[in-house]
Symmetry: C2
Subunit: 463 residues, 2 copies
């Protein structure tokens, strides 16, 4: 790594070296009685601390490497997690316990709950209303096509799995990753173009649609797995759909009605940190309720972020408190990488050696890319760069990963809905769609510019 | 509660009501198969979410109530924890599982690690050097007297316990709670008086001394409990003292030498949140190393805070990033109350009904109060309000609670060093010393003012 100059490299290795020396020295001296509480029942906290140290360092190094090649940091966290989690293949099994630590798993879950809360905070219900028909249509087309294509691919490659598994795989292809596209458009100074606004609006809407599909699918699968064996009536499906949609709509309506008063009440409370604590309360409460209803907790966290409106917190800001986004951000910095690095760790690289999984991954990726091109069909306006919109919707990221994470824990007929090999295939799909988008989008936007330049004799350059 | 006007009360109860209704509704419907993942193996995350919801809400309400009567918020968190944790006495055992959840315990531990890191951040090594001889002497006197008084009281009331238990109880009386005294002096506009400076300097120093004593005592106890049965040579004690002092001094020296480069390296990394992640890395790494050496992890976290100097982060601030204190603060808001509410929950109120425990608590409290009056002996300057200094050093708080928390998990000869009844006695001591200080300190400072007014015809007023 070029950016590690000699001197810095030496220092850095010194730190790591001192750390390892200490660790070895006291691990061994623990045996002869000098450090009694090193090994025994006291260690759960130390185990988690060690895991957090490794994850925080790995996340920042991985994120840095990927940002340097213009890929999103989250991919770096995922890939470095894959490396760490598969070091056992070369005989290093130091990191194996990380995969099975329950507390780390719960920290990762809280991390993704915080992440979806943050994503929800970025948009309000009012924004949703304003995005306009084009974004909405783009989102609809961009959800339906990949969903059914993914379903079809799953039927083709996993014919013996139940229909619910096929639907679940279809669902993992629906949600566009807003962050990656937004970042590319921002870097190109194109964030205020009509194309950018349509893509961003549609990405937010298809996030919500994806979450509703996830809510419905997980609801159906848990209903099937518990109790009613294999068959499930259309009445039950309707009930679950109503429950999922009802939860989000209910959260929005009840929240809009109750939360301003809740935060006004909080404003009267003495003591520090009330705003953040109350925001976390709303987030955790809705996540908990969603979970209790058989939906994914992240659905509740997203709904919580969506309904919180900055205008309710004017009193807090007036007395000098930070905004909720600013307050949540450090907690996200701490916990979100735990989720993604751990996701990477759970990928089993040996599955990549199996040719049929690579084939499945390739076709799934194709379905993901082709499916989103349906978006361009929703744009009738000729002056808009329709190709760019289709391309901008390609990247799948956090939400797809979160879906397979949930699927790998849902049990149906005694085995997980998302098997290890499907998990690997989806991770490959996420990585490829994300890596493919920036160059394709840049190319298309610049070609669009040149066309416009040609017809209008405009002055925008760069090639 | 006066501040809950009718309308607000109704709204607030509505939220709680809706929540409980949902909970009940879906807990029961879980049985007939509609919500499959409500109850089974999926629930660890939901359990923790529910616990965090209860703790966050309880902490803010408890903190508010205590701040209204001018008591510190942390006491409110402790007391409301005691209430929740003992509701089983009136037949409500809903909260019992909270006490035994390992993840919640680890979150509490991370909370207290973050807290000590924050406390350490408030002072730098350079500040320590500058505080001057008076504060240092005040701290020494204020550590030695309560330590031996506490030891003596423990011998008197627990004659059958080993000498290590007696020493441990002595150690819990050493550390002054900076926060409470600082808050009172600030509220009185006295934070820049000579008395205030001496007290605050001494409180910081006795925190460090307390942590060194804790490090030594826990080191000795774990050495005794593992391996060398009961006897322990003075050579081993010396080794443990050297290890503890060596750890802190070593952390300061190595940190000063290595960390600026570490953060310079971090500055080159692309991606968001590097500063916070690296600060957490240092905190967790030192906490982990301290734990591996048989010291308490908080000793390492405090040392980490102490060695981090704002001047290393100038580059980060110049590009618009927040200070480490600002970045850590939301994480502390989230996790620190988990520690204190949980500490309160673990107090067994039935022990308070035992007259001998109340007697032990009363004498221990007396030792804590009288012991710190030795501080005034260290001040020779006649113009300084010596009585106020002794009074200002009285409150014990976080650190004392942390000590008994650690002691209750250290095992010696098959039972915990801090038994349930000792735990309760120390909690009573912390509560009384904290509640007693503000009025006593205010009285003494105002009397001092009046004296000064009299002799110098000064202009300070307020009565």
């Amino acid at each position: 790594m070029r950016f590690l100059t000699n001197r810095r490299l030496i220092w850095f290795l010194t730190i790591i070296g001192v750390y390892l020396l200490y660790d070895l020295a006291f691990a061994s001296s623990g045996g002869n009685g000098h450090t009694g509480n090193g090994g025994g029942h006291e260690s759960p906290v130390l185990d988690v601390l060690l895991e957090l140290i490794v994850i925080l360092l790995a996340a920042k190094l991985g994120g840095d490497l990927f940002e340097r090649v213009k890929a999103p940091a989250v991919l770096g966290e995922l890939v470095i997690g894959m490396v760490i989690g598969n070091l056992q293949l070369v005989g290093i099994d130091f990191f194996e316990p990380f995969k099975h630590n329950l507390t780390l798993e719960i920290l990762a879950e809280i991390g993704v709950i915080i992440l979806l809360f943050e994503v929800g905070l970025e948009s309000t219900v009012r924004d949703m209303m304003k995005v306009g028909l084009v974004s909405f249509m783009v989102a609809i087309f961009g959800v339906i096509a990949p969903f059914f294509l993914g379903w079809g691919v799953a039927v083709l490659f996993l014919p013996h799995e139940s229909v619910y598994v096929h639907i679940f795989i279809g669902a993992t292809l629906t949600a566009t990753s807003v962050g990656i596209t937004a970042r590319v458009l921002k870097d190109m100074n194109k964030i205020n173009t009509r194309e950018a606004k349509i893509i961003l609006g549609a990405a937010v809407i298809d996030d919500i649609m994806g979450l509703i599909i996830l809510a419905v699918v997980t609801g159906i699968i848990s209903a099937v797995s518990s109790g009613m064996s294999e068959g499930i009536s259309s009445g039950t499906v309707l009930f679950i759909i109503l429950k999922a949609v009802g939860f989000i709509v209910g959260a929005v309506i009840i929240g809009h009605w109750v939360l301003p008063v809740f935060f006004k009440f909080g404003f009267r409370l003495k003591g520090k940190g009330v705003l953040l604590s109350f925001a976390l309360l709303v987030c955790f409460l809705l996540a908990y309720l969603a979970g209790k209803m058989g939906l994914a907790p992240i659905v509740g966290a997203f709904a919580a972020g969506l309904i919180l409106e900055e205008v309710w917190f004017k009193d807090y800001h007036d007395r000098g408190e930070h905004s909720i986004e600013e307050l949540i951000s450090p907690i996200a910095t701490f916990l979100v990488p735990v989720f993604f690095v751990r996701m990477g760790m759970l990928v089993d690289l040996t599955t990549f050696a199996q040719i049929e999984i690579l084939g499945f991954a390739a076709v799934l990726t194709l379905a993901a890319i082709v499916g989103k091109q349906a978006c361009s069909l929703a744009v009738f306006d000729k002056t808009t760069n329709r190709i760019a919109i289709g391309l901008g919707m390609i990247p799948r990221g956090e939400v797809g990963l979160i879906f397979v994470g949930i699927g790998s824990k849902l049990i149906l007929n005694g085995h997980p809905v998302i098997s290890t090999s499907t998990y690997s295939a989806v991770v490959i799909m996420v990585i490829i769609t994300t890596l493919v988008t920036p160059p394709a989008l840049i190319f298309s936007m610049l070609r669009g510019d040149r066309k416009t330049d040609h017809s209008l004799s405009g002055s925008q350059t760069e090639g």
